[in-house]
């Protein structure tokens, strides 16, 4: 307190000057119409400027919250889109035979069985041959091994290990990961695999040569999978190689997902996966 008083004493002239100068300006603004209007306009402009800056800052700081909201909304929309697509497909295939859709059982809409769990990639590698993603969701959130991971742009990987709060996944950029894939609109299936090298390109194999394919065709996941819903984009064909000897194409695929900027993701959960897997186990 005494130090504060000593400081005031040392600068008392300046303090008095500033106080009187401010008082004079206050009187000038308070008791003169033109000056008052000018000050009001000026303070509005300055206040507006700082308010705009403040809003920008607040918006920026609340981006995380906004992102989470958008992610949740996106998830709901994605779920809805898949359900609608599933219904549309069912109606499309059934329409030539019967128009009585009211008798269709729920099992006629297989795609609606997928549930999406929003998450973020907290670690992600792209420079190795066996790249991995670590997700900020785990067993507690309903994640299990062998669930798919997708981004807003397309397929990102598959969950391999799960702890209580985190999951480890094989990235699509992992040479051990093979996916059943198809060329959109052709219903022809092959096997997609990343073979190392550029993180922008993978390969689609076992597409028979008698199918017509073109650069730019979209490669998606096929229906022969309990990991991904049918139609999740993997990428686009960027180069076509024909292997005449065994009758298949070797197709270079430009990946749709930018693995350098992996952030917001969804874990894809198939509600009946266990049931299907146990059936498949009886065959083996």
């Amino acid at each position: 307190m005494s130090r504060l008083f000593a400081l005031f004493l040392a600068y008392r002239h300046t303090v008095v000057f500033v106080a009187l100068f401010s008082l004079s300006l206050g009187i000038l603004v308070r008791f003169n119409r033109d000056q008052s209007l000018f000050f009001t306009r000026w303070s509005l402009a300055v206040g507006g400027y700082f308010h705009a800056k403040h809003s920008t800052l607040v918006n920026y700081l609340s981006l995380g919250e906004e992102n989470a909201k958008l992610q949740a909304e996106n998830m709901a929309l994605r779920q809805k889109a898949i359900t609608l697509e599933s219904q549309l497909n069912t109606y499309k295939y059934r329409a030539p035979y019967s128009t009585d859709f009211s008798v269709l059982p729920d099992s006629a809409f297989p795609l609606s069985r997928y549930v999406f769990i929003p998450c973020r990639a907290i670690e992600n590698s792209v420079v190795h041959n066996y790249n991995h993603i670590v997700l900020n969701v785990g067993r507690r959130h309903g994640v299990e091994p062998q669930m798919g991971v997708i981004s807003a742009d397309g397929v990102a990987g598959v969950v391999t290990q799960v702890s209580e709060n985190y999951s480890l996944g094989m990235s699509l950029l992992n040479k051990n990961l093979k996916l059943s894939a198809q060329i959109h609109g052709k219903k022809v299936r092959g096997s997609f695999q990343w073979e190392g090298g550029s993180p922008r390109y993978g390969s689609l194999h076992y597409i028979p040569l008698h199918y017509k394919v073109a650069v730019g065709d979209t490669v998606t996941t096929s229906q022969y999978s309990t990991i991904f819903p049918e139609g999740m984009i993997i990428g686009k064909i960027s180069h076509i190689n024909s292997r005449e000897s065994d009758g298949f194409y070797d197709l270079d695929v430009q990946l749709n997902t930018d693995f350098h900027a992996l952030d917001f993701l969804y874990v894809v959960k198939h509600a009946h996966k266990h049931e299907i897997d146990s059936l498949l186990r009886t065959i083996n």
Binding site: H13, F21, S24, I27, L28
Partner: protein
Amino acid sequence: MEQTIKTVFGYVLMLVLQGVVFDRMTLWDLASPSAYLVLALFLPLRLSPTWEYLAVFGMGMAVGLFAKPIGAHAVGLLALAWFRRRWLAVLNPNLGEKGVSEIALERMSLRSWPVYMAPPVLIYEFTVAVAANLSLSADVWLKALFGTVYSLSVCLVISVIFIRK
């Protein structure tokens, strides 16, 4: 005591003259002379700056009762009072802050008065012109410059007649 009464009476008279006479001596609609600046310019330097600021604030508010805009003169005078000690320190670099407060302004040579008075008067006129017109246009600069010449001339005449010793 008699001296104090004389000084206070002189100040009041000067402020009344400013309001009644000098504010009406407008030339070419540009400026009227601020003769009362003599009071601020010749406030004794041995006076503490705090008292000096309070005195000029009071003068400025009193003049504001006659000449609009009220408050502008106080702002101008405070700027003048703040500046004049620093200006004197510049003019007398060997004296230092303490030395400046011992300068007897009324005993300065006649030739050094305009040099001492002109910049503080310019600062006052400019501050008041900006506060009154709310602009930094050429018109405001012209009014400030013309006002400085006019006020300085009147102040010099008054100080030579009434203050010089």
